[in-house]
Symmetry: C2
Subunit: 396 residues, 2 copies
């Protein structure tokens, strides 16, 4: 008999995806170049040519079994070593091969990390605004996601609310910095205070609280931003990384869990992830993609376009009188809407072919998200349209 | 706090993997060419060159976003269409794109199929001898795996035992033909009787019973074998396919679920699989690998070596007086050991550097598995050693 649970889940479509479909349909009517589609976080800059070159070379130099044979369960050993070394070099933590578990990008990394450090019924705290997929990601593991309300003035952590919600059932805290949807990076002060709080609570509760750090935007950081490496602040950290955005390869599904070498039972965590894979049907990412990513461990796509776009949009939003926190990274910005009901606000914007996502999906009503991973030329053309929308609808 | 469940799972290592490690260690002492390692089912023939060529061409002809961008959740539409068409052409069922869900090989296909058609506590029946990983694959979904004892005379289905175990809690039956470890393909008569039984029980219980057909060895079928396409016999069939063995690409993690177009709510199943993915952390296989596999939908590696090996081993086993069912496909054979305790039998074989896997792991005590996906030259050299072992230890 078909599972009623998954049948029911089919009936709650993603708002973001629905808007993207709307944008695409609208594009068929008026030309997609005339739809200012800020809905989807799909990287717009190309992969570094080195990645494609690595793929071609691998097919020409390795034997069939070396290239396409089974990887050991935690991932290709050489790839894991290369990643451990790159992290060690960049962030100074003594990562070794045994701390790296290869995954099918960040979704898979989180699926493993959460199962590793929680039992069914345990609580995982995250902070608004947050990526909507965290709800199924966490709740389907058997743990229970609870959302700490946003500090809407800064989109740093709302520590008063956080401390109220901490309790002995909390086994993990999930953060995402730089953040989707706010674009804000957690500062050193924020991460220091978060670590202090968790260290204190671990002592009080008599058990570890793991910090699961979702880092797909780690490499997209703008000039002057204070965006430090999370794991440097707190020993019990599992860093969940994806190459999707840094190399513009979201379709290749490649990432990893990096276990802080000082974490409790650090050597156990990768073997546990292997066990978790058996039940979820994950058995390593593609071997050729693992190897190509390792060869590009020190590279990124040309990510500068995102900062150019951010500055154009941010300046225009300020000029138009929006309340908005300046992003420190990512390709998102999360301004306050011009009326309380941000769904109504985004609905009105649609009349101008501006596709904006209401903050409700991210557990921050009254705000809206713009994903500016689009051509700068289109961003420029969208700004007078944004101005027209605001003037006509809100008299500004 | 680290999950006790997954910690405990780390302490029950796979017998097969332990033997493979032993073989590799022994190889370091005496040269791996002198270890007759029949432990692991790792394809030994190379990938078709067309697969590597397709990968190179894709990197040279598609844009970065076309090639490496996000696939829609059920997989690349063109890939799904190509697979549906190839199945339709070969097996005559009216598959369309909407019936194909791309997965990270068969493990992921089974993870989706089982969750799709069971709720926690439901029963899934499978038949001994079976692939040991079915235990975590099924039980980690929340369903409960029950194993029907083997028909050790034929390794077809033991229908008497099967009918005793059927009850209204059974929501799915999991089969694997051609079979790991027996090498036997279920005959048309077996599949017809299985279908008749399930149709009758569906009526009696008032709910569907889905047949989950695990088919990684579908393309490795030997001359004269009666190895028909499972889904042709029973409407509520979910075919779980992997390209790992047919194209010799087990590290690339590529396969699919194909929903029989006549299944109950056939159009719902792929969207449900998409929902399941959100919780397991699966979000499509690698996009370039999907496309390369689709371009090779009508190809296989040169699989003839497996039949050559099988015939050499089978003839020798018969000559030495073993009781053994002749395989219809795969690269496995599953003879009866020469003493009741097949673990003791395999332990003795190790003295001769013959690495055989006891049947206990496959829920068929008294038998042992040989995975003959190795060079024919090595198979030939192993036969006198097998003879020596049998003569010295068992006086034959």
């Amino acid at each position: 008999m078909l599972s009623q649970k998954y049948k029911d889940m089919c009936n709650t479509p993603s708002v973001i995806r629905s808007l993207a479909v709307y944008a695409s349909e609208r594009g068929k009517e008026i030309g997609y170049e005339n739809v200012f589609d800020y809905s989807l976080g799909n990287p717009s800059v190309p992969v570094p040519e080195e990645f494609n070159k690595a793929i071609r070379e691998l097919t020409e130099t390795l034997s069939s079994n070396e290239l396409h044979g089974y990887s050991p369960n935690p991932g290709n050993p050489g790839v894991r070593t290369a990643i451990a070394e790159s992290l060690k070099k960049r962030f100074g933590l003594p990562y070794e091969q045994k701390h790296i578990f290869m995954t099918s990008a960040a979704a898979s990394a989180i699926a493993h990390a959460v199962r590793c450090v929680t039992a069914p019924g345990d609580e995982v705290l995250t902070f608004a605004p947050h990526f909507p997929e965290y709800v199924p990601y966490i709740n389907e593991t058997g743990a229970v996601l609870k959302v700490v309300p946003a500090d809407t003035g800064s989109f740093q952590i709302n520590f008063d609310e956080f401390e109220k919600m901490l309790n002995p059932k909390v086994q993990a805290v999930l953060i995402n910095t730089p953040n989707n949807p706010s674009g804000v990076a957690y500062s050193s002060a924020t991460l220091k205070r978060l670590a202090d709080t968790l260290y204190e609570k671990q002592k009080e509760y008599g058990h570890e609280i793991f910090l699961i750090s979702d880092e797909p935007y780690r490499e997209i950081v703008f000039k002057g931003a204070d965006a430090p490496y999370v794991s440097s602040f707190y020993d019990n950290t599992l860093s969940c990384y994806s190459f999707s955005k840094s190399l513009s390869v979201p379709g290749e599904r490649i990432g990893y869990v990096a276990v802080n070498p000082a974490a409790k039972d650090a050597d156990m965590i990768v073997p546990m992830c292997v066990q978790i894979s058996r039940g979820t049907g994950h058995n390593c990412p593609s071997s050729i993609i693992q190897m190509a990513a390792a060869r590009c461990a020190y590279l990124t796509s040309d990510l500068s376009v995102y900062e150019t776009n951010m500055n154009l949009i941010y300046d225009k939003l300020i000029e138009l009188g929006f309340t908005v926190v300046k992003p420190g990274g990512t390709f998102y910005i999360f301004p306050k809407a011009l009326e309380e009901d941000s769904q109504a606000f985004c609905e009105k914007a649609k009349k101008y072919d501006l596709i904006l996502v209401p903050g409700d999906s991210f557990k921050a009503k009254g705000f809206f998200r713009m994903a500016y991973c689009i051509d700068t030329e289109k961003v420029k053309r969208s700004l007078p349209v944004l101005e027209k929308f605001v003037k006509e609808e809100y008299g500004r």
